[in-house]
Amino acid sequence: MTDAEASGRSRRGRYALSAVVLALTVIGVSALVRGGQETPHSLPAAAAAASTPPDRTAGVLTAGPLMSTSAPTRVVIPKLGVDVPLTGLGRQADGTMQVPVDATTVGWYTGAPTPGALGPAVLAGHVDYKNKPGTFHRLTDLKAGDAITVDRQDGSIAMFSVLKVERYAKNKFPSDAVYGAINRAGLRLITCGGHFDSAAGHYEDNIVVYADLTMAHPA
């Protein structure tokens, strides 16, 4: 082709693209206006049968019950006789999680989904602190199926069931397993365990209890 032809074609292409841009912008606005008023038409059975198989099954990609976001206020673990209020925990300047300032209080990590909502909610409590046994000092007694309930600010109650209890060296803490994405509403209870390194002044391990939401009690 000649140069003239080529430039003509590219110019046409450019005009076409501009037209598309302009048209789509107008369409976008009108589609929005119309979308709100749209009412689904009833579909003839024949047309439905003729349609090709769906690309995906309609529905949800998540599993189990889910609750909206609401801050937790209290955690109850019947098996351990635990029934304590919750306080918010952020992060320290060094990026590690803050911990409660007394042995009794359990904290919920505010940089995570709230208990009952999709994703891993995180509660942390001391195994011992300032010469007192902490609220979570018997966390390793929990077994699969044990109940944990969390009261929430909106008056609803999230009921969890323990999946497993794991112990990890703090220097090999599995952040992905504990904090990573999950397709359901989960809960992690964290405390300390294992050998106490008296030189460093801390336990060498973390105990992590994994639980799933099994029931959502509405407010």
Binding site: V26, G28, A31, P40, T52, L118, H126, D128, F173, H202
Partner: protein
């Protein structure tokens, strides 16, 4: 000196502790799985991260899109509790084998945020394809943008898990571009009084639903939930005793030094 610094630090820490909950409790990362619509063969994943400062970070990686073409993309849905989801082929009301944008809207909701590459992100920019991301020559699309808190519609962060992502632009006849020959004219365009816009350019290619959520700000390492103070560990007792002795000795020496100076 050291003591006073510690005393000052305690209230500061307490303030931080109590200041956090209200401000940042939605600090989380929502995973969206983008599945093919209209036999596009495209798919992808997206992450919506609610930042601690209220901003929203959106990252999308898609493959199998129409190469070298712009793909309009949006967050769809609403924050009023409507239960939207991704459409299946039953949304194809006119039975042409493709779910058009207007056929999909009753299912996935109106445009909530336009995922443009720059500038306005309101629904007004819904199909401003000059500011929409292009798929590369292989049909891959990579998008990342942080939308400032001030530009987010009210309730966005609270309802992040109720929103959907839709990417538009398909190649029904596999010729590598949007054209009229494949599906004809866009019904959207036509009803808006415009002619000559390929249906391929406006039909949805992927629809993404929330598939999971993660902690938004992952803490570093393990958690210091214990000080060993209730353990019957003789080493600790000796350690504490030893420290106390050292302290006493230090104080004694210091006093002696002071008294000698005076």
């Amino acid at each position: 000196m050291k003591l006073s610094r510690t005393l000052l630090a305690v209230p500061a820490a307490a303030v931080i502790l109590f200041a956090v909950p209200g401000a940042a409790f939605a600090d989380e990362s929502v995973q969206v799985q983008l599945d093919a619509l209209n036999k596009s063969g495209a798919s992808g994943t997206a992450t919506l991260t609610a930042m601690a400062d209220g901003d929203l970070k959106v990252s999308i990686r898609s493959t199998g899109l129409v190469p070298n073409s712009p793909h309009a993309q949006h967050l769809h849905g609403s924050t009023d509790g409507m239960d939207f989801h991704c459409p299946d082929m039953s949304a194809d009301k006119d039975g042409n084998g493709f779910v058009s944008t207007e056929e999909g809207m009753p299912v996935y909701g109106n445009i909530f945020i336009s995922l443009t590459t720059k500038g306005d992100t309101s629904p007004k920019s819904g199909l401003a394809v000059d500011r929409m991301p292009m798929a590369d020559a292989k049909g891959n699309l990579s998008y990342s943008r942080t939308i400032a808190a001030a530009d987010l519609p009210k309730g966005t962060i609270e309802h992040l898990k109720d929103l959907h992502i839709v990417e538009h632009g398909i190649d029904a006849d596999n010729n590598g571009k949007y054209d009229m020959a494949a599906l004809g004219e866009s019904t959207l365009a036509k009803s808006a009084g415009l002619s000559g816009i390929p249906e391929e350019a406006t039909d949805p290619a992927t629809c993404g639903m929330v598939a999971g959520a993660a902690v938004g700000s992952v803490p570093v390492g393990g958690v210091a939930t214990g000080d060993g103070s209730t353990r019957n560990d003789p080493a600790i007792a000796y350690g504490i005793g030893g420290l106390a002795l050292l302290g006493a000795a230090g104080a004694f020496l210091a006093r002696r030094r002071l008294s000698r100076q005076s």
